[in-house]
Amino acid sequence: MEVTTSELSTPEAGLKSKILETFARVPILGWLFGTLVAVILEQIVGTPLAWALGLPKIPALFGFLIMLKKPMLIPSSMLYVSLIFLLPIGIVARLTLAPANRLAERLINFSMQGSVLVHLVLLYAIFHIWTGMSDYRLLTLKFTLIAIMVTVSLNVINGYMGEFSCSHPGFMALGAYTASVFSVSLFVNDSMFGQALMPSFLGPFLFPIGLIFGGCVSALGALIVAIPSFRTRGDYLAIISLAFMFIVKSLIENLEFVGGPRGLSSQPDWANLPTVFTWTVVCIWVINNFVRSTLGKALNAIRDEETAANAMTVNTKRTKVVAYMFAAFWAGVAGGLFAHVLGYVNPASFSIQKLAEVLAMVYFGGLNSVYGSIVGAVSLSLLGEALRPLELFKWIAIPLLLILVMIYRPTGLIAFKEFNVLKLIQPKKKKRKEV
């Protein structure tokens, strides 16, 4: 294969494949270094460069927004993106290729956990500096991270377990409201809940408890859905969970003490980037652990052949209910974070549109794959933001994209792939050529 392509290719194509080959050997660590340099560069020269290129401000989302709004500025925003991001990342990644590989190897040999931690710290540093340039970026990134949590947890049900659940927005709503009530009633002087019961400096420390509490309420909601719908297989769960989503929405709309349809506001600003980032990492870690254990793989066995799973000692009923509650828990936590990022929450934000968004992310990214869900959530969230200037046409472009994916990859972009962190962060060796 290799030989024939290189024989047939023209010199330019040969050069291209050579470049691709070189960059294929860059470890994740190298890419992180490159991106870190790029975001630091932007911090220093971004604003003057944008001014010099005639841009109104720095392109927040890699120039997409500016390009779609003012087509005249396409060349300069593309130039900006290449000068600030593409070129520096490429150059640094290429230059640090050998040392980054060596370092990655040394880190893994030293300690697997330590190596993961180093990667995460680097990633966080990049996020921190990148979002430091504009609040819009910060908000987009936070929502993207929350979308990852929701998508990965829904994939446990719709992908790993092979059922079709529609109640994730409902679980998010339960988590969002529970966490909001927790923090507003305890730590804020609010007209609805009266005086704060605890000193506000304790708030950020007790915030995780509020989130977990919200997750647990969602899990209880999941139990209510699960008991009737897991008695048999089929479309029951889809229908019951859809009904549950609407019940939660109208329940909250009619609960006056949380503001009814007007919503609940004045959540304190505790969901800062480190908090959201940490929760997302923990969520991915725990879910990935779960689906790789025999207890979690039992979900796959149930999906593929439930009779056989049951006959091979798998307690199918309990496994299904536990997995459903588990997924709902994370949706609840994500909902709680969502409410605190926005500082406001209302029932309308957890309606059918949210459901469509989350389902699109799961099926776009790929079923039965944590990796795919991360990709799906990130790409659709960013795309949703980037295509915002198209207004109405955004809702044509994204579904079209989904249809294309469904035609060419029916199970999603990266389906049925194990998310192996070790494989991701290990150094990349030079491929040995045959003959």
Binding site: V286, N289, F290, S293, T294, L295, G296, K297, A298, N300, A301, R303, D304, E305, T307, A308, A309, N310, A311, M312, T313, V314, N315, T316, K317, V322, N368, F416
Partner: protein, 256 residues
């Protein structure tokens, strides 16, 4: 008391009587066969004993413990391992995962282990993997461990089912037509595996077969089932010479 004792088991599918007054005793280490024409209710009997269907009447006891009304996974954990006539494999999982999966009830690390990857989990998963490799070695497909089951040839898929059933440490192994659809070579290998398994684990085996050659060679006791009723029971020789069996199962020409 026998290892497995079934008494007066009757089952109706709606108005259709699928099994009538079925009795069975299996002693430890015994190989028993169940033969009968298509639609006689052989697989139904398997499904009744392993809990997939609930018998309308009658009792099933394993080592004096009642099995009727338990969930299939509870019956399986109690010591009834089985294979399926129409190969119920998990199509997105590889061979190794199959054989680990049936050790599900032995994983005691619980949800905490599953969520946070505790030391106990790593140890138990590693033990399960070792055991799985051992069983795959025994049935002769350890080199296919990481293949997806759908990529395997038919004979190998049957072996996966066998290894999967063995991994749960059964007291009795139920084999539902273990040689169905196999060519003569595969058939001989399968019989060798069944013998080997029987010898190594001292298992009691209860098997449904269509091919008389297999039953006659392997089994010590055979039941013949016609329309849900046992019409003859005995050693292979007795069954072979029983006119009722010959009439119902082998056909009249066999006498000539």
């Amino acid at each position: 008391m026998s290892l497995l004792q079934v008494e007066k088991m009757t089952h109706y599918f709606g108005g259709l009587r699928a099994v009538h007054n079925y009795d069975l005793q299996i002693e430890p280490g015994q190989i028993r066969g169940l033969i009968g024409p298509n639609g006689a209710g052989k697989t139904t009997i398997f499904n009744l004993i392993t809990g997939i269907h609930k018998p309308t009447e009658g009792s099933v006891q394993l080592e004096s413990e009642n099995l009727v009304g338990l969930e299939p996974h509870q019956i399986a954990s109690a010591g009834l391992g089985r294979t399926f006539q129409n190969l119920l494999l998990w199509r997105h999982m590889n061979v190794l995962e199959h054989v680990i999966m049936s050790q599900y009830s032995k994983m005691t690390y619980g949800l905490a282990g599953a969520f946070f990857g505790t030391v106990k989990r790593r140890r138990q998963e590693a033990e399960a993997e070792d055991k799985a490799y051992g069983l795959l070695e025994l049935v002769g497909i350890s080199d296919l461990a990481l293949e997806n089951v759908l990529n395997l040839p038919y004979g190998a898929q049957r072996r996966v089912e066998m290894a999967r059933a063995l991994a749960m440490d059964p007291k009795i192994l139920f084999l539902d037509e273990p040689t169905a659809g196999m060519n003569p070579e595969e058939l001989i290998q399968m019989m060798a595996i069944i013998r080997q398994v029987h010898k190594k684990f001292g298992l009691a085996i209860f098997l449904i077969e269509h091919r008389l050659k297999v039953v006659m060679e392997l089994c010590q006791e055979i039941q013949t089932l016609v329309f849900g009723e046992v019409i003859a029971e005995g050693t292979p020789k007795e069954i072979q010479n029983n006119p009722k069996v010959i009439d119902a199962y082998l056909g009249k020409e066999a006498i000539d």
